[in-house]
Symmetry: C2
Subunit: 146 residues, 2 copies
DNA sequence: TAATCATTGTAATTAGCTCTCAATTGCAAT
DNA sequence: ATTGCAATTGAGAGCTAATTACAATGATTA
C-alpha cells in the first residue's frame, strides 16, 4: 500500500527536488483537512500546530502537490483559489449554493462516460475536468420562499 | 425581435441605472468580439475604435452585462478573468488544450439532462454551470509523439 | 432653476500571489 | 563522516488584476 508521502517523495526525487521538513508538514496538514481550503486557511492551521512555515513556502509547495496528484484546485474560486486533497479519493464534481456557500459533492458515471465520448469525437486526450453547478440549495430555496 | 441593447436597457431601467454612451459603446464592442476576451483586450479594442473609456468603467460595466445575461465569465481563467458574450448563443462547455491553448466549444444535450437530474436528486435549483475539460488536442498529441 | 443622484476618469489602494536575496540545508559523491 | 553544491527557506519587496475614494460632470425630477 503506497502512502501519500511515498507518492510525494517519489515525485520529488524524480524531479531532483528535496523532501524537506516544511514539505512534509504541509503535506501532512493538507491531508488532515477534509474540506475545501485556501492558502490562508492552511497557514492558520499550520500556526495552530506550532509551525511557522511562511506563506511563500506554501505557495511554492502547492504546485508540487498538485503536479504529484495529491491535491488539486477546485473551481469554487470566486476570489481566493480553493484546494482539496484528492489522494485516495475518486474524482467528483461540485454543486455550490450561491446563498449559503454549501458544497455538495457528487459523482455521476454516466456524465463521466459522456465526457470521454465527447473528447474521443474531437480526438482530444483529456487530463482533467471540472464541473461546477451553481444555484440554490433546498434550504435556501425555502428561506427565500418565506 | 428583442436586441441585446433592448435587453441591457431594460435591465438598467429596472435597476434605476442609466444607459450612458460609455455603456452603449462597451456593449457594442463586447458583442463584436467572437472569442473569449479579458478586460485588457476589450480596452485595446475600444482604443482602436477611438474610444477613451477607462479601465475602471469597463470593470464597473462588466457586472452589469453579466447580471443582465448578455455576457459571462468563462472558467478558462488561469491568470486574468476571461469573458464571452452569450446573447443569442446557447449554453456550451469548453475543452481546453494545455499545450497550445486552443479552445473547443461543445454542447451535449445528454450531459445537460443528466446535470438537471443530479440537481433534482438533491433538491437543488441550478442557475448556471460550467464544465471544462483540459488535456491535449489532436495536433499537440502528434507533435508530442514526434 | 435648483436639488438629487448616477456616472465618469484619475489616482490611490487592496489583495493575492510571485520574486529576489542572503542564509541554510538535504543529499549524493567522496 | 565530510564536503560541495544545488535546492530551499523566510522576509520583505514587487507585480498585477481588480476595487475604491473623490471630485467633476451630466441627466432627471421637482
Amino acid at each position: 500500500m503506497i502512502t501519500a508521502e511515498d507518492k510525494f517523495r517519489n515525485y520529488l526525487k524524480m524531479k531532483g527536488l528535496k523532501f524537506t521538513p516544511e514539505r512534509k508538514m504541509i503535506l501532512k496538514t493538507v491531508l488532515s483537512l477534509h474540506t475545501h481550503f485556501d492558502v490562508d486557511q492552511l497557514y492558520e492551521r499550520l500556526r495552530k500546530e506550532n509551525s511557522d512555515i511562511s506563506r511563500a513556502t506554501i505557495y511554492r509547495t502547492f504546485p508540487l502537490l498538485i503536479d504529484s496528484g495529491i491535491m488539486k484546485e477546485t473551481l469554487l474560486c470566486r476570489d481566493k483559489t480553493k484546494y482539496e486533497h484528492i489522494f485516495g479519493h475518486k474524482h467528483h464534481d461540485h454543486i455550490i449554493c450561491l446563498k449559503c456557500g454549501r458544497v455538495i459533492e457528487f459523482r455521476d458515471e454516466e456524465i463521466e462516460r459522456l465526457q470521454k465520448a465527447v473528447c474521443k469525437k474531437y480526438g482530444f486526450k483529456p487530463v482533467e475536468h471540472k464541473l461546477g453547478i451553481r444555484g440554490y440549495c433546498r434550504e435556501c430555496q425555502s428561506k427565500m420562499g418565506e
